[in-house]
Symmetry: C2
Subunit: 603 residues, 2 copies
């Protein structure tokens, strides 16, 4: 069975050495008590929960899967108990508003906890994870009555939430959603339609589930502007107007999706057969309300990506140190001599190191990237409405598609290398490596496919506030490179980063020039542009980590091994991973002509 | 359920337009009757078998999997009947020697049939596929008696074969294999040890299984030079000396491997508990005999890679033409107008086309690559012992690690894109796309991991005959580019190819310069070098295909759509895929320093 040691040390390094956390979040109104010491204590508790409770049920839960029998959805053995312990630990309430029973801790802390949970069991993390979206949507757009009924239950975890968007004919394109909502006399609505791929759509962890459902009112205009958002509980709360006590709503589980991975996650087809619902926000204002859920979910996907990549890396590293095969060429940096049987641990083989360093450079870069964004979430939460809060909001809006897509693609790369590094042992269930890949395979697909994210980036996000949001972010990236260039041992890394960020600047200018009249070129460039953006973003964070490690090593020579690891991974990133930015630049700039010449029947 | 239409038209194009098949194989002694017409007729038969018999059992067989119960290994429903039909059709005997009951058709034809079979069910294809290795090993190294007993049964498919190499502690590194073979008075041996990951290791398709087992004689020297090869039947044939009639041998199935994919393939742990075996070849000559099996298996892996990638591509393409989402920018090459509901089929979206063209350019390039090698197999078979045969043998030896690794990596890319293109529908079992990926995930792992192949390429293969084998291959690659450069519309493709092949030439020179004293740099460059090699190899074949399509279109204007497809894919390959060769070149040439600085505990 795979092992897991929560990356507490990594997070301390990022918070303390790289991001200067104590000068940041505890300086924000409302988060004064969330000092680094408090954060580390909470993370210690989360680590214990994940290691003791989640890790043991992850591999067996994958084998067992969820099961729909006699109309009841059964989660695998141990998931019910784990969820009860999760609630007992107060984990669902961590970053929620004290007004509704929450602990009011910073969003960044909640995301770090989510990373650990995703390492322990991605499937498990999605049960409370989806509740976050429902909580936010009702908090932001719900009536006082809806808040009073639902928020305390979502915050203490006694109910979980879902997002019911996708229908068989409408996935990436929500304009054709067909689910209908008919008004009742008492102010409620009757919803009719079928929703597919509903994560946590039905399960036995809680006695109620709060579905947030996109549907059309009778007078709705066509397209996405005609969507409204409704809260549709699995069981109708007894004190809702006009409903009998806690009765079963007409939400029926049509089937369970048979998925490649996250098999302990009950993903369902839900049939709304005149189910009772209540409007959240304004009529036809569903899309805006939905994006309140969606954007938080997309950052959540980035965090999941890190969690699943981390556990894959940890187990690949442990295996590479332990497994002995072949005799390695004499390596200056190799820690180990051939053992008594004359063979080296495979970590001594250069090609194995190439894989391990790729994993390390990606996982640690990914974590820095989401944490950087998480600190913006703290600002947004604490400074809502102020210019500072709006700046944080805009930068988050810009980075969200990159966080979602680039990190989810990285998660596939890392977990794929984790399989490959284990040889045939990576292909069998018992070692867990193939499960990590299968679980990770969902992240580039859900909450908007990565292709859709790339279009969001090139069509909307880089043009936010007439390009000023992008410009301000890129200026900070260039500034980091400028500062790193002053440290002699980091100069070549900084030079590589400068070349890549200049490419990103040029590509962005070209995309903006193409916007009127060359829409095909813009769309054809989207994915390569996003990858270029992601590499530059990771480069910026690796430069900051390298600078911090360089300073840290001078200050704490006894911690040299840790800091050396950071510097070695940084060097590898700039020498071996960042250069792909050049290929992505060329591809993005080559235009759509080679994509569009063939007619469909010529394929 | 996924569809499949065997790529008969593709093969005809390659054989007729690109490789001039009729001037090649039927001109070889022994293959005079294997004309293009005969080949196409056989392929038609194979297509029918695969479409009618294999395709329907592939998806259900994955869901059901193999099952070990009461000591018997059960294959999924329909596999027994399919195997019986496969035998009835005479498919196992296609390319085997008439002397042993075979049809004596060219190896190239058998490989094309294997491609179709791998599309229909990769799991199924491995049952007869492994028999090929056993057949070759006994044919090349077995005594007359062993040949007489085993070859007819392997050729008519009444028995299947296995390769028993891997042990729990020895995978990539066979030097520490522990299975022992003790001589008996009657000339047979008693084998004791455990073998893992044995494909087709136990099953209910035939009443006997012929295990080819690597083991050590009592006086064996240490390391791989102390390995001998034995044939160890599941049931001892009645006419073997000193054995009672058809008795069960002491080969016991310890367990079934729970694999990520190829779940209808019975992969077993086998315990040899004093099992009776007979020596194949010379004592301590096992490694050489094993490579007779292994090399043919590695080309087989390349062919499997194409098969699984092809069916993924076909289904992605069909989905892209049918699924309507969103409104595409107005595209000159788009075949379709938005439908009645105002949405375009997703094939009209540039980013979807980028994925489809990647799949098309890879799959069709992969097929050309294996077929090019397959025609060398024809020469080797027909001209064994002659200089021409030896040239073919050497070139095959050079290309084998590239075929195995590069094509298996391509299979992962293609099947991964097949999932992504389907959005969430790609993640559920019913659509088959995720099965293709899971099945494909084995190909970079088995028959020597891709990392091991890369080392074989840089440490041995490029140095074959003091580099002359490589030089002769590269000269033919350069020659192709020279000829293509003369066709105006192909000139820019040829120029791109020349740049890439010049990089390969430079990289090869550097690796040879590093060979003495810079072994770490050589090993650290291996995988990137192999990828560079693979891209150049595919580029050569795409240039040949583009030339043939260019000529074909002029000659047969009514077939323009087909030839346009080839030219469009070629253009895409040179513009969007080949440029990665630059990144691989830089990485390979950057040396191992960045890989080796960290000590193991600094990771």
């Amino acid at each position: 069975m795979p092992g897991y040691d929560a990356p507490i040390r990594e997070l301390r390094f990022l918070l303390e050495d790289v991001f200067g956390y104590d000068q940041h979040t505890p300086a924000l109104p409302g988060f004064e008590e969330a000092t680094l010491d408090v954060v580390m204590a909470v993370l210690d508790g989360a680590a214990t929960f994940v290691q003791d409770v989640l890790l043991p049920i992850n591999l067996p839960g994958d084998a067992e899967g969820c099961r729909l029998a006699d109309g009841t959805m059964h989660t695998p053995k141990g998931y019910g108990q784990a969820y009860a312990l999760y609630r007992e630990g107060g984990w669902p309430a961590l970053a929620s508003a004290p007004e509704w029973g929450g602990q009011g801790l910073p969003p960044s802390l909640a995301l770090m906890v989510r990373e650990f949970v995703a390492s322990g069991s991605m499937s498990f993390g999605m049960y409370p994870g989806l509740s976050q979206g429902a909580y936010r949507a009702i908090l932001a757009h719900g009536s006082e009555e809806l808040k009073r009924i639902y928020l305390p239950k979502l915050v203490d975890g006694s109910w979980t939430g879902t997002m019911c968007l996708t229908e068989p004919d409408s996935g990436s394109d929500l304009s054709r959603l067909r689910t209908r909502a008919e008004p009742e006399d008492d102010g409620s609505y009757r919803l009719t339609g079928t929703k597919i791929f509903i994560s946590s759509g039905d399960h036995d962890l809680t006695d109620n589930i709060v579905h947030l459902v996109l549907a059309r009112l009778p007078d709705a205009p066509a397209g996405t502007r005609g969507l409204s958002l409704f809260v549709v509980p699995k069981r109708i709360a007894e004190d809702l107007p006009g409903a009998s006590a806690g009765t079963q709503n007409n939400v029926n589980t049509g089937s369970i999706e048979h998925k490649m991975g996250i098999r302990a996650q009950a993903t369902a087809v839900l049939n709304f057969d005149g189910a009772r619902g209540w409007l959240v926000g304004k009529p036809h204002g569903g899309l805006r309300a939905m994006f309140t859920m969606m954007n938080s979910s997309r950052v959540g996907v980035a965090v999941q990506s890190v969690g699943v990549a981390e556990i894959s890396y940890q187990n690949a590293l442990a295996y590479a140190k332990e497994r002995r095969q072949g005799v390695a060429p004499n390596a200056p940096g190799a820690a180990s001599q051939p053992g008594t049987d004359g063979r080296n641990p495979i970590i001594d083989h250069p090609d194995v190191r190439r894989s391990l360093l790729t994993m390390k450079a990606l996982v640690e870069g990914m974590r820095a990237f989401y944490l950087d964004a998480a600190l913006l979430l703290d600002v947004r939460a604490a400074r809502a409405g102020s210019p500072e809060g709006e700046d944080a909001e805009s930068r988050l809006a810009l980075l969200t598609p990159v966080l979602k897509s680039f990190l989810s693609d990285c998660a596939l790369k890392v977990t794929d290398l984790g399989i490959q590094l284990h040889g045939g042992h990576g292909y069998v269930h018992e070692n867990g490596m193939e499960q990590f890949y299968r679980d990770a395979r969902i992240v580039p697909l859900y909450e908007g496919t990565n292709g859709i994210q790339a279009l969001d980036l090139v069509l909307r996000k880089i043009g936010l506030d007439d390009g000023r949001v992008f410009e301000s972010w890129l200026a900070s990236v260039e500034d980091t490179a400028e500062r790193a260039a002053c440290v002699a041992s980091l100069a070549s890394m900084a030079a590589a980063q400068r070349r890549a960020s200049a490419r990103l600047r040029d590509a962005t200018a070209q995309l903006r020039a193409w916007r009127d009249g060359n829409e095909l070129d813009v769309a054809g460039a989207a994915t390569d542009y996003l990858n270029l953006f992601g590499l530059v973003a990771l480069g910026e964070l690796w430069l900051r980590m390298a600078q911090a490690a360089h300073a840290g090593r001078a200050q704490h020579p006894q911690l040299a091994p840790f800091y050396n690891g950071k510097l070695g991974a940084a060097e590898f990133f700039f020498q071996r991973l960042l250069p792909a930015s050049e290929t992505h630049f060329e591809a993005a700039m080559s235009g759509a002509q080679a994509l569009m010449t063939l007619r469909a029947e010529e394929f």
